[in-house]
Homo-oligomer: 155 residues x 2
Amino acid sequence: MAKTAAKAEFPIGALAKESAVNIETIRYYEKIGVMPKAPRSAGGYRLYAPEHLKWLTFIRRGRELGFSLDELRDLLHLVDGHAYSCAEVRALTLDHVAGIRQKIADLKRLERVMTSVASQCSGRKIPDCPVIDALFQAAPATARSRRSKTRGRYV
Amino acid sequence: MAKTAAKAEFPIGALAKESAVNIETIRYYEKIGVMPKAPRSAGGYRLYAPEHLKWLTFIRRGRELGFSLDELRDLLHLVDGHAYSCAEVRALTLDHVAGIRQKIADLKRLERVMTSVASQCSGRKIPDCPVIDALFQAAPATARSRRSKTRGRYV
DNA sequence: CCTAGACCCTGTAGTGGCTACAGACTCAAG
DNA sequence: CTTGAGTCTGTAGCCACTACAGGGTCTAGG
């Protein structure tokens, strides 16, 4: 446990448990450069320090709040270099909120359509279902269906 | 235009234009069995009839309403065999609506968190941003973060 | 010292729903 | 017969993981 090493190193399994992030995901994060490369033991095991846990927690939280790994990488580089201003970060965040609002609006529209269509269902065993009919009709214009960047289907 | 063929056959490009679905996507749909295999011309071109357009419109609409291709395949097989009851379809639809509501709720929660965090930003150029601080803190329990089936990140 | 078993390693392939290419072929008009 | 638009197949890429296979390492107990 104490050899020549720094304070309190731990292997990837412990980091996974602490952070509630999968081992494979951690390795993946390292591979794509979202997590820094961990130093290795003589046998090739990754060795982590508390900073890594903070870093990973940041990523997990960010993912939960809907940031992409790309965005988080940028954010982390900003933070790591202490070169960020609160205004920068807020701008990024508000951008993000705008995206979320858009998604909520889209989903609400969807909910309205689906509900109204389903409510017309008779429940009888005939091939005359309004849901099916609705699906056979082309959509009315579908405005705003290609927003750059936020191109995910999210549904 | 009229050889020995049936009424009004057209190639994939026309179908793509009519349906507003990409050519590649149509071929992909055929490959994975969501679209039926189209008959071919002597030279190997796919030939489509109006039924195919209806079928594809159904898929596009369904996708816009958030059905997965799997769900649509089932739906289409039901419809194609005329074996569906309106009740069956309604059940599937309402299930779907429930999923949408869940997503809306999640996104609203997200929006609230992000907005409140961003609103605390001073805009000054110091390394003391509440967004960053929030990201460094572990999430509070994160209840309901693993709902089977609806496992997409949707954000 | 040896062994068992828990842990870790790399690399590859799969998920969903497409999109984008390369390189070859077909078709219709001039 | 040529030209150029359209089409063909097959493969690889996107995102953010997840799930293996087939090996190596570490450590506690005998």
